[in-house]
């Protein structure tokens, strides 16, 4: 059981709201000696493990910190170059922290707008007439449930594959949206939702849904 996050996409396909509810944090810190037995590579301005999986450090994890100093891109926060530091034997032993990369806001916007054409293509590909778009998308580690309103707004929730009652949950989120976003006179349509009341009520709803494992009544 578990709900990982909620996304709302406007009818023109832009991400207008996203909320990470319960994304499990995966981080491991270990002390390494020279030479480093992991292969690192720079991708998307992040140093990620390309080969040499061991213990809890998996391929695809990114380097988060060296000796407790956070890494941003390939540079440390104090300005040193991370790769140079790892290559230099005199720096060892080094304490390295690896973890699952966090999605940046830009990546989320990108992925949300990516779902939009997929949804449309699905309804076109359908052998039957008048098919809806993607309603559920399942993978081995998560399930994405999407609900499109008649006005074209998409509500999506990402949850554990075993989570039941996501459809009802999405309808409730729609109700919250109409109450706390649309009735807020300072919210303009199609714009990102920055309404505190909406956030707090959504949090309450998700907590209930998480606890009961259903859409919460």
């Amino acid at each position: 059981m578990g709900i990982y996050g909620v996304y709302i996409v406007s009818k023109s396909g832009g991400l207008i709201f996203n909320y990470d509810y319960n994304v499990p944090k995966i981080e491991t810190e270990q002390t390494f000696s020279y030479p480093l037995d992991l292969k690192l590579m720079l991708e998307n301005n992040r140093l990620l493990v390309s080969f040499g999986q061991r213990d809890n450090i998996k391929v695809g994890h990114v380097l988060l910190a060296i000796n407790g100093i956070p890494v941003a891109g390939r540079k440390l926060e104090d300005g040193k170059d991370a790769l140079d530091m790892l290559d230099d034997a005199t720096n060892y032993p080094l304490n390295l922290k690896f973890g699952r990369p966090k999605m940046t806001v830009n990546e989320k916007i990108f992925l949300a707008s990516m779902f939009y054409p997929l949804f449309a293509i699905a309804s076109q590909l359908s052998p039957e007439l008048r098919s809806s778009g993607i309603e559920t998308l399942e993978a081995d580690t998560f399930k994405l449930q999407c609900y499109q309103t008649l006005t074209g707004i998409k509500f999506m929730v990402i949850a554990d594959p075993s989570h039941a009652g996501l459809e009802q949950l999405l309808k409730k989120i729609y109700e919250l949206y109409t109450d706390y976003a649309l009735k807020n006179p300072f919210y303009s349509l199609e714009m990102p939702i920055r309404c505190e009341l909406f956030d707090t009520n959504l949090q309450v709803l998700l907590e209930q849904a998480d606890k009961n494992g259903i859409g919460a009544n």
Binding site: L150, T151, G152, K171, T178, K183, A216
Partner: protein, 178 residues
Amino acid sequence: MSRQSTRLDVKKVNSELFTLTYGAIVSQLMKDYENVEDVNKQLDRMGYNIGVRMVEDFLARTNSARCNDLRETADKIQYAFKMYLGITPALTNWSAAGDEFSLTFDSNPLTEFVELPDNYQNLKYSNVLCGALRGSCEMVQMDVSCWFAQDQLKGDLATELRIKFNKRLEDAIPAGED
């Protein structure tokens, strides 16, 4: 388990408060614009903006499906009037082509305490309703026109709101819905 949104569902407000607030808006607009035509336009615009938001509330609460016929739409509009204004207008005067109908009110909650002064005879006092209907239909991809065919304020026997279906906004229909 009591949830806040279920509490909102049953929240009722005295219609007089609503009537008076609306009256205050109209009279303020008359002061601001000093021109009846401008006020009519402004009320329609305000209604439109209300409509585009209100329709989501309606859909979220009623679980309505898309209408494929104006008669279905008419029933839903009738139900929406019950929900939001507490009145059930009669559906009358269907055109032969089925693309036009009237909502007839015995009483209009917006005009409960209102008498129009002689020099305001062109004021469409309840024009906000026309705007709201137009706005909410547009959000569900229907282009409609609305106007008051009769108005008790102008001495007619009943208030009649005429609705005409123009076209479906095909290119605005979201994917997976058409």
